[in-house]
């Protein structure tokens, strides 16, 4: 195929990516956007395959075809078999693979110089560009791999080693920040050295090792609730890695698609930070809440399921506010059962209030509740449902804290300005939670201590099951 047609194919693919990303941002067009992305990728791969040529014959084609099939099959099976609840982890894992792929392409290119010194270009500019781009691609790519893997285990909460469950640690003293800076600068220095001496493998391994460490210590200090932001940032980085790889092999579609993902991923990261009322810099470099947790000075007596069931007796409208705790205890099916029981017994209207950052990933609650077959129409976004709390008989908060903490309205403290769910406007508030302890932001919640609030202390699944039994017995 002539070079003109290849360039045209890549242009078409880039246009499809642009439309795909644009359409993914709107609810109605999002499925179409994903299809555009697929088409763009298909066009890019087909164009490349037509552009390839093997003088050696069939062996090269068999290996390439086998690689494509193998990767597609693994990816497809993983995507189909994953539980809805494990989806954020899978996105993180795929992201790590993408970063590693870019870094490996870069490594493969520079390795050719080691194996065959004739391959080293005489053109000094090309050599410099290749080594710099390969170094940067390695830095970003390996960092994305280790960072994403750690993020995946953090989202899972831990890792099983020889049958023992080990919790993923969160650790980040402030002296770690200058170390990140030093490591970053030393990678840049090694990249500079590698341009002088492209066949020195010490530089190569040095860049790879330091980049892997950087990915780990970048993600290690970041707490569970900030994980979506980090995964989004790593996604942006894997795009940048692809763009750098494009510089090495002089390929336009890699540069365009990579930098598109890099830039739009960064914007998405900032949007996600804003929804949590956080700054990206704070997420990355400031340990949050941990050190300055507010002391609890008040106490509140817990209620039991029977008491709550009596209050729920005859309720006309109940709004359920799910949070991180519902995801942890996996009690969405019990929640759905509760909703069905209430609807059946008292003809109660049930709605769900979804805070934009509830759960581990934006949209996490939607996915969990959809898995339990909760009708989509009952899931209402925060802005729309807040006015309805004043007319509802009961709000049931399941494992949520900061997202309904009235302290956010005062304009002071870490939660200041964060939009919250107005659960405190409901006639009765039931809170299912393990203890009175502070949420992620480390701020005590006044809502717990109000007279109209009933606390059900315990695991979400256990408490919902007890509550369902109590409702049945009414």
């Amino acid at each position: 195929m002539s070079t003109d047609w290849v360039a045209f194919g890549y242009l078409l693919s880039a246009i499809l990516f642009v439309f795909g990303l644009k359409k993914l941002g709107h609810p109605r067009t999002a499925p179409r956007g994903n299809q555009y992305g697929m088409m763009g990728m298909a066009v890019a791969v087909i164009t490349t395959v037509f552009d390839m040529h093997f003088d050696g014959g069939i062996v090269g084609w068999t290996i390439i075809g086998g690689g494509i099939l193998l990767g597609s099959l693994i990816g497809y099976i993983m995507a189909k078999r994953v539980e809805m609840t494990g989806m954020p982890e899978l996105v993180a894992l795929f992201n790590g693979f993408g970063g590693a792929a870019s870094a490996l392409v870069a490594l493969s290119e520079t390795w050719k110089y080691l194996e065959n010194s004739d391959a080293i270009p005489d053109n000094e500019l090309k050599l410099t560009v290749t080594m710099v781009a390969a170094g940067l691609s390695a830095l970003v790519g390996w960092m994305t791999l280790t960072g994403s893997l750690l993020a995946m285990f953090k989202l899972k909460g831990g890792v099983e080693v020889f049958g023992k469950w080990i919790r993923t640690p969160t650790w980040g003293p402030t002296w770690l920040n200058p170390i990140k800076g030093i490591l970053f600068i030393s990678v840049l220095a090694l990249i500079y050295l590698s341009t002088e001496d492209p066949t020195n493998t010490d530089y190569l391994w040095g860049i790879i090792a330091i980049s892997c460490v950087l990915g780990i210590i970048l993600v290690l200090p970041i707490g569970g609730a900030d994980m979506p932001v980090v995964v989004s940032l790593l996604n942006s980085l894997s795009g940048i890695a692809a763009a750098f790889t494009g510089f090495i092999i002089g390929n336009s579609v890699l540069i365009v698609a990579g930098s598109l993902v890099g830039a739009s991923g960064l914007i998405l990261t900032v949007i996600m930070c804003k929804a949590m009322n956080r700054q990206l810099i704070d997420v990355l470099f400031k340990s949050f809440g941990g050190s300055e947790k507010q002391e609890l000075t008040r106490t509140k007596a817990g209620s039991d399921a029977d008491e709550v069931a009596m209050m729920a007796d005859g309720a006309q409208k109940i709004i359920i506010v799910p949070g991180y705790g519902m995801a942890v205890s996996q009690c969405q099916h019990q929640v759905k059962e509760f909703a069905d029981l209430m609807a059946e017994k008292f003809d109660t209207e049930i709605k769900y209030a979804i805070h934009p950052v509830a759960g581990r990933m934006p949209g996490h609650m939607n996915v969990l509740l959809a898995e339990a077959n909760v009708p989509y129409e009952q899931l209402i976004e925060m802005d729309e449902i807040n006015s309805e709390f004043s007319e509802c008989d009961m709000a049931i908060v399941i494992g949520a804290n900061d997202t309904c903490n009235p302290a956010a309205r005062t304009g002071e403290g870490p939660l200041a300005g964060m939009p919250i769910i107005d659960a405190d406007q409901a006639r009765t508030v039931v809170i299912i939670k393990r203890s009175l302890s502070v949420g992620y932001a480390g701020v005590d919640n006044d809502l717990f201590y109000e007279d109209k609030t009933m606390m059900l202390f315990g695991d979400g699944k256990a408490m919902m099951t007890q509550l369902n039994n109590a409702i049945k017995d009414l």
Binding site: P31, G98, A101, L104, V256, G363
Partner: protein, 102 residues
Amino acid sequence: MTPEMLIGSITLFVLSIFLGVELITKVPAMLHTPLMSGANAISGISVVGALLGANVAYESGDTAVSGILAFVALVLAMINVVGGFAVTNRMLNMIAGKKRGA
């Protein structure tokens, strides 16, 4: 490679970054994860680089390690691409697809 080609590539890089910034403006929270996942699948574009790298490696025959590296890159990139789009599709069916007539 001539300086003109390098400048051309850098121009492409910078303009695409600006375009990427403009593309994403207001995204409802519900779509944050699918958008991230879809963009992630697109970043598997390095599959093109892996293909070209493998092509050169297998053609010249004697470059064993670089060929293996390119092959591993090809497999990982394909996992990223196919898995990424498939998982995005599933997510969108769950959350956006059920919103009929909206």
